[in-house]
């Protein structure tokens, strides 16, 4: 299978953003870019502002200062649903699915932003509306196949074990046909086998779809294995960034994570 050609422009550009809640400065002038096709990991201790960055990118938070560009278009002040429709998809730290619906229904619901027919034609399920749904179902079925969740297609999501729910959540993000994927701790709370599966899927996504993945993850083993580039965040500031091996060798990173030497 041929990979889509990559433009050499950055997909996402975060320019000097600052975010504060009352007197707390969550982000202090953070800048970075996301290149096409790369897996970019953001690491840092708890409260460093990792999730704040993702929330700023997809419009949940409005940074007081700085700008964010997606494929050259400024998205800083856009509402979340428009950013989503542009192709920025997000997998949340806590599973955010319709627990009463099946896996299939959850993924179909994610296709809603791409549906064009009105509520009436959809209710009648006739002509175009019908053809449209069949088309969406096809896309969803490919995602189900890709994530190997055929066995739970018709199971209610609320009844699924955590690891599988996470996988459905990833599927939901893919159903949006994203051009960049934001993953917030996709492997938290998983056992080794589930983690290995997830890693494989993330790699396959980046490889097959060619779009970049921004990953927040605490498991350093996973990050070092799969990330192309790492950004280290501490206290709302970018501490350093670089290739995995550079980060691993950086004493400042260890300090930020472990506290200062006095602890030892």
């Amino acid at each position: 299978m041929e990979k889509p050609s990559r433009e050499q422009r950055e997909v996402l550009k975060v320019e000097d953003i600052s975010l504060s809640f009352g007197g707390v400065d969550a982000l202090k002038g953070v800048s970075f870019i996301v290149n096409p096709g790369e897996i970019l990991a953001i690491i840092g201790p708890n409260g460093a502002g990792k999730t704040c960055i993702l929330n700023s990118i997809n419009g949940f938070y409005r940074p007081q200062k700085g700008r964010i560009f997606f494929e050259g278009v400024e998205i800083t002040k856009m509402p979340p649903h428009r950013i989503c429709a542009m192709g920025v998809a997000r997998v949340f730290q806590n599973v955010e699915l319709y627990t009463g619906l099946t896996t299939l229904e959850n993924l179909m619901a994610a296709r809603h932003s791409r549906m064009k027919q009105s509520i009436i034609t959809n209710a009648l399920w006739f002509g175009w509306a019908r053809r449209e749904e069949v088309g969406h179902r096809k896309i969803v079925e490919h995602i189900i196949d890709f994530l190997e969740i055929q066995g739970i297609r018709k199971q209610t999501v609320g009844m699924l074990p955590y690891g599988l729910r996470k996988r459905v959540e990833l599927g939901r993000a893919l159903a949006l046909e994203p051009r960049v994927l934001l993953l917030d701790e996709p492997m938290a709370g998983m056992n080794l086998e589930e983690k290995e599966d997830m890693v494989r899927f993330v790699l396959d996504i980046a490889e097959r779809e060619g779009f970049p993945v921004v990953l927040i993850e605490h498991d350093m083993g996973v990050v070092m294995d799969i990330a192309d580039r790492i950004i280290v965040l501490d206290n709302g500031e970018v501490l350093t960034e670089g290739l995995p091996q550079e980060i691993a060798a950086n004493p400042k990173v260890a300090e930020a994570y472990m506290g200062s030497d006095e602890l030892w």
């Binding site: 096809k138 079925e141 490919h142 196949d145 055929q150 739970i152 297609r153 490889e207």
Partner: protein
């Protein structure tokens, strides 16, 4: 020695089948073509080009391949192989899930004049190395990234393999090694090759003889390494023929392939049986959807091991246990009627009232159960492998599944078979026409003799084993059995598995184990007691069902080890054991058991790939526990090394308790 040989009622037909060529007529007017599988495929493609031949569920939809597409895939794959130097008697090793491509690969190898051999899907690289080296395979087909990675790991040790062909490209995009090749690339090569060699394919196919070796079927190997039985096309046809005599199936009916194709079952039915009579082979979407897809297809004919029925039984019991009171009541009522009906039927005292009641019970409960399990259209389900508990057998017969037992071995196909005309409880039926069976007096060992057409042609690359098992035309099965005065064959156990207590009382651990596995809380079990005072069991609890029970009883647990050692769980299992003990002969009843702290695992060589226990390594591994039981200890500390599938090692440390009953 006692010789109890059955006569041959269909001698004329049989003689044709044994040595003839051309077409033989069967019992139901069906035609048996004595040809190789690729020849049959070529004929079918000409006869029924647009009729469905294979069906695979993909993306939630059943996709059909007609005979023409089936044939073309095989043809171009075969030519592709030929263009890369695959020639007569070469071997293609195949590992993967049940997919049309598995069929294309094997038939392709056969069409190119070679032989296909299946490897069990969960084999680790070391085992694959053995299969490849033993069979001298020159090409390999591996479904996907997972399977291809196994070959890559042992690449240096298997220099004979020229190419590894995968048919599921997902995850393979970044692999640059020219050693790996996409299935579709091979087909494309085949199309190019045809342009320069227009008649090559038909010529090779027509050179095939019905007595050629069709496949290497690896026996499961409860003792020692698996051996490759060489089986000819004629044998496969002859075995099907005996099956069809009692249970015919016809063109266009559905066959569901879900057991690993490396096992002899699919070699017999899925390939030859379906090709002879134009049955449609259906493949599940993924290993996780096997049960659901079975329901949508409902195979007319099935061959499976007793283990699978045990699992189904346990799942069904769990579902019923969780059902609402209305369903539960309906089920209990229907089951009561069913049990009585079966008893009366056996005694020949059925009257109209009971027949009506049974119909009613069937309507309110059994039909739904059959549908759920995927047997609404089943005409026959044959149980193979180890013995099956009579309790279980009775259950499935009550709900109306046409379940029959047979005794068969990879080396000689079906040997005995139950059929609707003559059923005796617990027996495997009578010896089939064309086979002879002798039981040795000393060890009750079963000796099988059959016409060469129905026997394997020795083990590949293992003359030693062939000479050891095949003496004066008798095949020494290593199984213990007896034949009663009416000629019914009763399977006892593998001879190597039979045990005796200190006082000399013989018992069959397999039988006790199969009874114990009827409990929905017991997933697996090993029975011990050789040269001891009493029989005891090492039980592996069913994590899912016991877990649910624990949740419902408000018992918190975290891991398998933790759950298995809980006091209430021991009480639960003790209750189950007490019930099952009543069904076991008094001298071999369980007097003690332990809940093991881990599950049996084929990766650690505790089981074979067909999930039979390997007693010697198990006995060695759990020696301290077994000694503890007989030393009268109450708790035994254990430390077990665990090997993970990716080769890493870990350990489990725990303390297991002994429960006396």
């Amino acid at each position: 020695m006692v010789d109890r040989n059955n006569g041959d009622p269909d001698k004329l037909l049989f003689d044709q089948l044994k040595s003839g060529t051309g077409v033989v007529a069967g019992h139901w007017g069906e035609k048996w073509r004595l040809k190789t599988s690729p020849q049959l495929l070529m004929e079918n493609a000409a006869m029924w080009p647009d009729q469905p031949a294979l069906r695979k569920k993909r993306y939630g939809i059943w996709n059909t391949y007609n005979w023409k597409e089936y044939f073309e895939n095989v043809k171009y794959f075969a030519l592709g192989l030929a263009s890369m130097g695959f020639k007569g008697k070469d071997k293609l090793a195949i590992i993967g899930d049940n997919d049309p491509e598995w069929w294309f690969c094997q038939l392709g190898a056969q069409a190119a004049g070679g032989i296909g051999l299946g490897i069990f899907i969960d084999c680790i690289p070391d085992e694959i190395k053995y299969f490849v080296q033993n069979s001298e395979a020159t090409f390999a087909a591996a479904k996907d990234q997972e399977q291809s990675d196994k070959f890559i790991e042992i690449k240096d040790e298997i220099p004979n393999i020229k190419k590894v062909i995968y048919w599921e490209p997902k995850g393979m995009w970044r692999y640059q090694d020219p050693w790996l090749m996409d299935f579709r690339e091979v087909v494309e090569l085949g199309r190019q090759y045809e342009k320069d060699h227009p008649q090559a394919f038909e010529e090779t196919i027509n050179q095939g003889q019905v007595d050629d070796i069709s496949c290497l079927a690896y026996t499961s190997g409860t003792t020692g390494l698996p051996k490759a039985a060489q089986i000819s096309y004629r044998s496969l046809i002859a075995w099907n023929y005996t099956l069809w005599k009692y249970y015919p199936a016809f063109t266009g009916q559905d066959y569901y392939s879900f057991l690993c194709p490396a096992w002899a079952v699919d070699q017999i039915l899925g390939f030859v049986g379906c090709l002879e009579h134009g049955l449609v082979v259906n493949f599940p979407e993924s290993p996780e959807t096997v049960a659901e897809d079975a329901r949508e297809i409902s195979s007319v004919i099935e061959l499976a091991g007793a283990r699978m029925w045990e699992e189904r039984y346990r799942n069904l019991l769990t579902r019923i246990h969780d059902a609402d009171w209305l369903k539960k009541t309906a089920y209990n009522l229907a089951m009561g009627i069913g049990r009585r009906y079966m008893e009366l039927k056996r005694e020949g005292r059925l009257n109209l009232t009971w027949k009506t009641l049974y119909k009613l019970a069937d309507w309110i409960a059994f039909r739904q159960l059959r549908d759920r399990l995927g047997y609404i259209r089943a005409q026959v389900c044959l149980v193979a492998g180890a013995m099956m508990s009579p309790e279980l057998f009775n259950f499935f017969q009550i709900i109306g599944i046409p379940l029959y037992t047979y005794y068969g071995i990879t080396e000689a196909g079906f040997v005995t078979m139950q059929h609707p005309g003559a059923i005796k409880r617990g027996s495997c039926g009578k010896v089939l026409p064309g086979r002879e069976v002798k039981i040795t007096e000393k060890e009750d060992e079963v000796l099988v003799k059959a016409d060469s057409a129905m026997m394997f042609s020795g083990y590949y690359n293992n003359d030693n084993a062939t000479q050891k098992t095949l003496r004066d035309g008798w095949y020494y099965t290593g199984d213990a059995a007896y034949i009663d005065d009416e000629g019914h064959f009763f399977f006892m156990d593998r001879i190597s598995e039979m045990m005796a207590l200190k006082d000399g009382t013989k018992f069959s651990p397999t039988y006790i184990e199969s009874e114990l596995r009827c409990s929905r809380y017991i997933a697996d079990v090993m029975v011990v007691g050789q040269d001891q005072d009493f029989v005891a069991a090492l039980i592996q609890i069913d994590l899912k069902n016991v877990g649910q029970w624990a949740e419902a009883s408000h018992i918190a647990y975290n891991t398998y080890v933790d759950l298995s050692q809980k006091g209430p769980v021991y009480d639960l299992i003790a209750q189950e054991v007490a019930v099952i003990n009543t069904r076991i002969p008094e001298h071999s009843r369980l007097k003690a058991f332990v809940n093991l702290h881990k599950e049996f695992d084929a990766d650690e060589a505790e089981m074979t790939r067909t999930r039979k226990l390997r007693r010697a390594p198990l006995f060695e591994k759990y020696k301290e526990i077994i000694e503890g039981i007989y030393d009268g200890k109450d708790t035994i500390p254990v430390f077990t090394e665990v090997k993970y599938r990716d080769g890493r090692k870990g350990s489990v440390q725990a303390e297991v308790s002994v429960r006396r009953v």
